[in-house]
Amino acid sequence: MKHRASIFVEEAAILSHEACPGEQYILRLQAPRTAARARAGAFVHLQCDALLPMRRPLSIMRADAGAGWIELLYRVVGAGTRRLAQRRPGERLSVLGPIGRPFTLHDSHPRPLLIGGGVGIPPMIFLAQEIHQKNHRKLPGRTQPWHPLLLAGSETPFPFKPRPSQILIPSLPPEVIAAIPLMEDWGIPSRLASGQGFPGCHDGYVTELARLWLAALDETALAEVEIFACGPHPMLAACARLAREFGRPCQVSLEEFMACAVGGCAGCTVAVRTPRGPAMQRVCVDGPVFDAETVFR
């Protein structure tokens, strides 16, 4: 079987564990085998605490294959993440990963629109990293082939300090200038949205920004767009509607309560449409990335 031995169990040392506003944490783990194989959209299944009988799935925000680390961003939402938040640098956590079907970039669609909501932002950072690396590997003298835009929305404070963007996006309102610092460093345009009145952010839904941007593209540019989204279910549904309205392909990353995370228990399924009719597919190994049309139509 081609999938054999594609997921690793690693006793990963915590390299850093940074508390951010809104009970959010950035966790960096030394997990070289996972880091070497991780792709944007993949996740890890973590032992948070010896007293909890189940692991917790967390998406990967960044990976450095050379240095052998992975970085996760999570918000405290229950018993598992609450206990995870108490773990200190130097301690070890059992990591099962990397798991799942990742996002797929298509050369025919070099204008990826990345939309992240809340704790759905991390996979979008990872996808932006992959795009940045693709652009970075370009031959000298060539123009950058990929033109991504990352839009992120959150109702809790962002887990980074937004920075006024130096990258102009003419089709978006000029007062919407808050951007993700890492994206600025990478030269990737990004903008933020929130209903909480955070400075420089769009006052509303992230998908409203997406609509403005899509509507301003000419036909040639629009044909180069593919949408990638991760976030709360209503946001993903809105992304799917947007994709349909503009006739663009859309990949969404889903989450569901999970037990085994390797395809054994069928505990994390979602209803999808397939050419052979309705089916229940596993978020862990059939996803977590799905074609939005199969999930939301």
């Binding site: 079987m1 594609s6 189940m54 309560f257 037990a259 085994c260 390797v262 069928a266 229940m280």
Partner: protein, 319 residues
Amino acid sequence: MTETRDGKAASDMLAVDFCGMDFATPLVLLSGCVGFGEEYTRVAGFSNRDVGAVCLKGTTLEPRLGNPPHRVCETPMGMLNAIGLQNPGVRHVVEEILPGLDFSETRFIANVSGSTVEEYAEVTRIFDDSPIDAIEINISCPNVKEGGVAFGNDPDMSARVVEVCRAATRKPLITKLSPNQTDIAENARRCIEAGTDAFAVINTLMGMAIDIESRTPVIGNNQGGLSGPAIKPVALLKVHQVYQVCRGHGIPIIGQGGVASAEDALEFLIAGASAVGVGTALFYDPLVCPRINEGIRAYLQRHGLSEVGQLTGTLVLND
């Protein structure tokens, strides 16, 4: 390879003859935890060779989509599940999945379910005409509206299901008993009369978890089956009770429910099990089986025993 005092190779110490099947170790991966036998091989270091047998996902005559989400949730030292027997139907399993399994790795056991007695018989008959090593009758699934535990809680119906399955196959027949019944020993007696070759004890306990904010059950099916360390004491008592019925008939038991360590497995063997099921523990530690094997082997050596079967039913009750 290390040898014991009577010269038996350490690897053979764990071998078990279960209804004529040669189990390499007493461990059995439980139905519903490992899909159709290949899923866990995704994990580097995992091998089906580390267990005596693998029970495949519960299978019905026609495909089933299963229950709506959420299908699983954590509870104190355990978890609830209500998958609802999602499976592609027995014909697909026999024609498309079994040919892909490597039968040199371990013994593969089908798990048969149905909403009528006739369906149990038909699914069993189709598996009988396949390379599957044995058939487990699931009369204890708590997560379907028809069949399942509704049959398993009624000794007459349990016996009736075993009888028709017995008539449909000559392969070893294992009856998976429910803990959700008044007298599991009486049910076991009836199933032995009806022709079962072995028992799996126990299936999950029925339970519920409630989201206090929405005041709704967490599980989409409202109720589910409880597994994990939380149910181990219940399972041990049930194995002990069923063993009292089985010992005179030479009927072996797969003891299961919350096994996560060698010590857990040893408790089940001492209580009367000939083999030990591992399920929920895999979710926490996919590589738990080789560790359990190693711990059992060390125990046998420490106690001067040459094979694991010598432990079965060695429980000494207090006066």
